[in-house]
Every structure is written in structure tokens, then in C-alpha cells.
């Protein structure tokens, strides 16, 4: 009899695409953490003699309009995209789990109010809302993370609610209640842990979404502000220098594409490995 963890790993590692996604995400982690060591130049080093230089031996991915090394800026930019992804999704997962569990566990008026709130949040065009809030309260990286988080928890809440609706009828919950466990204890110690699998999948996929939103905001000029490098704001320079410097457009976008692809593949892989309906395909 294998442990669930090992079983999961065996299914996951058989899926080549999922593994590729995992490797991309791990690579991104290393690059972001080791940025000070792997980046060939200081990302903010202005070199007026080498402005808008195409990719070459000295600058593998070229330089921007101030002569800064694009590769170094992209390496440092990975920190932004990594941290925005994780913090924003952390916020949305926590909010989603709280609202979803309260709604599913208590039902009644609590459920009705929370579900109505979810409907409202889903009807407001999210990108409009993010744009307006960021522009009005200021575009610090923390504001960006928080606003992406609080506009994207609805999916998680719905998932958790559905899990709670079925799990709260289970016997182990009845047993916990019989020995006198409080509602809070039942919610957080007993039911929540059993509803984590679908949340994990949607969290990984959510990171991909958050990375895309952050880069769009930065591209529009209201996200991460220069001189702090982010993939989105390098692309803004790409647009401004579209006619002369293609490398400013090509490489940061490619980085976003590969990163988002990595999270998506990883998320789908985790989903497939956790889905018992797909287990029948192999002999256990």
C-alpha cells in the first residue's frame, strides 16, 4: 500500500507536460532568488554609450533606451512576477476559503449573503475595477498584489463551498460534533483539510492569471513603476521603441508566456494526478 503522497507523485511524474511545468516553475524560483548572483549587470546601470544595442556578446538580450542590460532587468523582473503571483493568490485563497467555508458550513442567510456578494463581484468587470483602484490609491507593488487578490477569490470560494456542502454531512463531522468540537474547530481542523485538493489546483492556475494581470498593468504604465524592472514595463519600452528595438518586445513577453504556461501545465498536472476518475486508467 503506497502513501497518498507517493501515489500522487507517481501519477504526476508520469505526465511529461506536468513535469515540464514543474521544472519551469522551479527554474523561475531559482532565477528570482539567485538574481543578485546570476544577473550579469546591475539592472539599473545606465550606460549612455550603449543605448538600444541589439543582442550581442556583451548584452545577450540587448540594451534598452538608457543602455541598461535587458537580460539583467528580466532576471530581476522575475522577482516581481513571482512575488505578485504568490502573494495575490495567497490573499485570494485565504479569502475564498473563509467565505466559502462559512457559506457552505452554515448555509441559510449567511450562504445567501455571501453568494450574492460573489455574484456582484463576478459582474463587475474585474480589470476595470483593478485599474480604477490602482490608479486612485497608487501603484505600489503591495497595492497591486492586494487588489488582484481581493478581486479573484470568488472561484475558490465557490469550490470550497461545494466541498463543504458535501463534507459537512460526513460521519466524521458528526463524530467531531458528538465529542463537543466547536464549529470553528470543525470547519478549520476537520473539513477544511479535506477540501484542500481542488483549492490547490485553482491556486496554481490562479498564479498564472495574477502574473498576466500584473504584466498587463505594468505594460499600461500603472503597475510596477520604473526604475523597478518588471516584464510588463520592459514591454512598454518595447512598444515605445517598436520600430527600432524588437528585442525589447520579444524577450520579456516570451518570459511571461513561458511562466504562465509553466503554471498552467503544473496546475493541470496536479489536477489530473488528484482526480480519482482518471485513476482507473492504470492498474493499481
Amino acid at each position: 500500500m503506497d502513501s497518498p503522497g507517493r501515489l500522487f507523485w507517481r501519477r504526476f511524474s508520469r505526465n511529461k507536460l506536468a513535469l515540464a511545468g514543474g521544472i519551469i516553475v522551479a527554474f523561475l524560483f531559482f532565477v528570482a532568488i539567485l538574481a543578485p548572483f546570476v544577473s550579469p549587470y546591475d539592472p539599473n546601470d545606465i550606460d549612455r554609450k550603449h543605448i538600444l544595442e541589439p543582442p550581442g556578446i556583451q548584452h545577450p538580450l540587448g540594451t534598452d533606451d538608457l543602455g541598461r542590460d535587458v537580460l539583467s532587468r528580466m532576471i530581476w523582473g522575475s522577482q516581481i512576477s513571482l512575488s505578485v503571483g504568490f502573494v495575490a493568490v495567497g490573499i485570494s485563497v485565504v479569502m475564498g476559503m473563509i467565505f466559502g467555508s462559512l457559506s457552505g458550513y452554515y448555509g441559510g442567510w449567511m450562504d445567501r449573503i455571501i453568494m450574492r456578494f460573489i455574484d456582484i463581484m463576478l459582474s463587475v468587470p474585474t480589470f476595470f475595477l483593478i485599474l480604477a483602484v490602482i490608479a486612485f490609491i497608487g501603484s505600489s507593488i503591495w497595492n497591486i498584489m492586494i487588489i488582484i487578490g481581493i478581486t479573484s477569490w470568488m472561484g475558490v470560494a465557490r469550490l470550497v463551498r461545494a466541498e463543504f456542502l458535501s463534507l459537512k454531512e460526513r460521519e466524521y463531522v458528526l463524530a467531531a460534533r458528538a465529542v463537543g468540537a466547536s464549529n470553528m474547530r470543525i470547519i478549520f481542523r476537520h473539513i477544511m483539510v479535506n477540501s484542500l485538493a481542488p483549492v490547490l489546483v485553482s491556486a496554481v492556475l490562479g498564479i498564472a492569471g495574477a502574473v498576466l494581470v500584473e504584466s498587463s498593468l505594468s505594460f499600461l504604465g500603472i503597475g510596477v513603476q520604473p526604475p523597478t524592472p518588471s516584464w510588463g514595463n520592459i514591454l512598454t519600452l518595447g512598444k515605445d521603441n517598436m520600430e527600432t528595438a524588437w528585442w525589447l518586445s520579444v524577450f520579456p513577453g516570451l518570459a511571461i508566456l513561458i511562466t504562465v504556461l509553466g503554471y498552467n501545465l503544473l496546475g493541470e498536472g496536479v489536477r489530473d494526478a488528484l482526480d480519482p476518475r482518471l485513476w482507473g486508467a492504470e492498474s493499481e
Binding site: D119, I120, S123, L129, A135, S215, M242, I256, L257, N264
Partner: protein
């Protein structure tokens, strides 16, 4: 529906009070010659001297009567007039432009996504299925603004085939009717292609999994067993059920389309609602921002309602209820 509408207006209204300082500060900053009396008059106009609940109530009362107030920008025109300018011909009105752009994109997406999803479901695990799945993953991960940039560089600058921005050329007015239509289409190719490509992924994936689920069911086996040709089994028996979830998905995609139009319209310089929203946000034109948020929410609700009606028309089980 009504409480949701209420919630949308509340969120749009609260945006006004998010920023530090008074909303009218912006107005007076842009116009240093403003007198204290004038500022007071402005505060009265937006009822900023009253408690916040009263402000909301008064604002709501105006919104219900479709009075969205005046823009803070220098032209001081009514908000509604800027979105739906009656003096302009229909194809030049902002709301119309955004609406048409999304409609065209949607039609293209569906006419490709549905057959694509069906055929990759009926050929599950084939090379074709793998290729379309790869394509779908790419479409999912593709930042739309990046794709737009690359296509602009390639088709607009290198090949010099397509216009880079706007909806009309400089000589638009001197063109014949046919020339005008051709000019419009030329300007629309890139934005529509980009939105369609990035939007295609989700719908075709959804169609595929929905189809896969349906063709496993007994009634499909029965249809095959009684000797119906495979084409008929798929397109007239399975499709009817497989397409139902897609209708809901279309309704749900409306807020995404509206939000996405900000990026598309800004990058391609298209004078639609998205571009207007972006400009209003940047200049802190509160009446515009609040109104556009509300209108966006109402359009989303309308989309959901249409999807519900469509679902009802397509599914006799729901109609019976």
C-alpha cells in the same frame, strides 16, 4: 438580479471615496483659477457636503434616470454624450465600437472553437488532438498585449501591410464607400485576430471536454448501434447537449471581454469604451469612471441574462419548468 445591480452601483460609487483627498481636488487642481465659491458649487453638484449614504442615494437616483453627470475633463460634456455621441455617425460612437469589436471577435471565436473542440474530442489522443491541445495551452498563456506588439512589429512595420493604430486612415473621408469599408476592415484585422486567438483557447477546450462527456453516454451508443452515420451522431445528437455549457460560458466571459478591451483599445489606439475608461482613470475623471464601471456591470448582467435565455431556448428540460 436587482440586488446584484444594486451591489454593482455601490461598488462603483465607493470607488469615488477610495482616493485620499476630495474628488473635487482634481477638478480644481486642473483649473488653478477656480474660486472658493466655484469649488463650493462643484461640491454641491456632486453632493459632497452631505453624508456618504445620502450621496449614494442621490447619485443612484440620477443613475436610474440615466443621468450620469458631467465629465471632469475640460470639455465638461455629459458622460452619456461622450459614450454615445448622437452627433457622430453610429460606427464612430464609443460604446458601439467596443460592442461591435467584441461581437465580431465572439462570432469568430465560436465559429472556430466549436468545430475545433468537437473534432479534437472525436479524435481524442490523436496527433491532431495533441496539436490543438498545444495550441490551446499557448493561447491560454499568451499575454494579449505581447501578441499584439509582435504582430504590429511584423505586419505593421516590417511588412508594412497593416495599419498600426486607430480605426481609420488619414484619408478616410475622401474614400469611396467601398474604400471606407475596406479601410475599416484593414484596421480591425490585428485587434480582432489578437482577441480571437487569446479567447479561442478557453472555449475550444471547454467544447472538447463537454463533448467528451456527452459521447460517453448511453444514448450516443444507442444512436451508433442503430446504424446512424457518425457525422449524424456527433452533429445532430451529441452536439445539442454538448453545446449547452458553452452558452453559460459565453455569458460569463462578458466581464473579461469588457476588461480586455482596455488593453486592446489602448494598444491599438481604438476609440472605444475601454480606451475611454483608461483615459478617465488616468485623469481621475470620477463621474466617467463611476459611470463606465456601472455600465460595464450592467452589460455583464445583460450578458448573463441573454445566456440564461439562450440556455432556456436550447434546453427543453429547463423550458418545461
Amino acid at each position: 438580479m436587482v440586488p446584484t445591480l444594486f451591489g454593482i452601483t455601490l461598488i462603483s460609487f465607493l470607488i469615488l471615496h477610495l482616493a485620499p483627498g476630495k474628488p473635487t481636488d482634481v477638478l480644481s487642481d486642473f483649473n488653478p483659477k477656480i474660486t472658493p465659491e466655484a469649488r463650493e458649487r462643484l461640491e454641491k453638484m456632486y453632493n459632497l457636503d452631505k453624508p456618504i449614504v445620502v450621496q449614494y442615494g442621490l447619485w443612484l437616483k440620477k443613475i436610474v434616470k440615466l443621468d450620469f453627470g458631467e465629465s471632469f475633463s475640460t470639455d465638461r460634456r455629459p458622460v452619456l454624450d461622450k459614450i454615445w455621441d448622437r452627433k457622430q455617425p453610429l460606427p464612430d460612437r464609443r460604446l458601439f465600437i467596443t460592442f461591435m469589436l467584441n461581437l465580431i471577435t465572439m462570432v469568430i471565436i465560436l465559429s472556430i472553437a466549436i468545430p475545433l473542440g468537437i473534432s479534437s474530442a472525436t479524435h481524442q489522443y490523436s496527433l491532431y488532438d495533441k496539436l490543438t491541445t498545444t495550441f490551446v495551452f499557448l493561447g491560454f498563456a499568451m499575454p494579449s498585449f505581447w501578441l499584439a506588439l509582435l504582430l504590429m512589429i511584423f505586419f505593421g512595420i516590417h511588412l508594412d501591410l497593416l495599419p498600426l493604430s486607430g480605426l481609420k486612415s488619414m484619408n478616410y473621408d475622401s474614400l469611396s464607400l467601398f474604400g471606407k469599408i475596406l479601410d475599416r476592415i484593414n484596421h480591425l484585422i490585428l485587434p480582432v485576430f489578437v482577441s480571437a486567438f487569446t479567447g479561442l483557447a478557453g472555449d475550444s477546450r471547454y467544447m472538447r471536454s463537454s463533448m467528451l462527456e456527452v459521447i460517453k453516454q448511453d444514448y450516443i451508443t444507442v444512436a451508433r448501434a442503430k446504424g446512424l452515420p457518425e457525422k449524424k451522431v456527433i452533429y445532430s445528437h451529441a452536439l445539442k447537449n454538448a453545446i449547452l455549457p458553452l452558452i453559460t460560458l459565453i455569458g460569463l466571459s462578458v466581464p473579461g471581454l469588457i476588461g480586455g478591451s482596455v488593453i486592446m483599445e489602448s494598444i491599438f489606439g481604438i476609440p472605444g469604451m475601454g480606451q475611454m475608461f483608461f483615459m478617465s482613470v488616468m485623469t481621475r475623471d470620477y463621474p466617467m469612471v463611476m459611470s463606465l464601471l456601472t455600465i460595464g456591470g450592467v452589460l455583464t448582467l445583460a450578458g448573463n441574462l441573454l445566456a440564461d435565455i439562450g440556455y432556456m431556448l436550447a434546453d427543453p428540460r429547463i423550458r418545461a419548468k
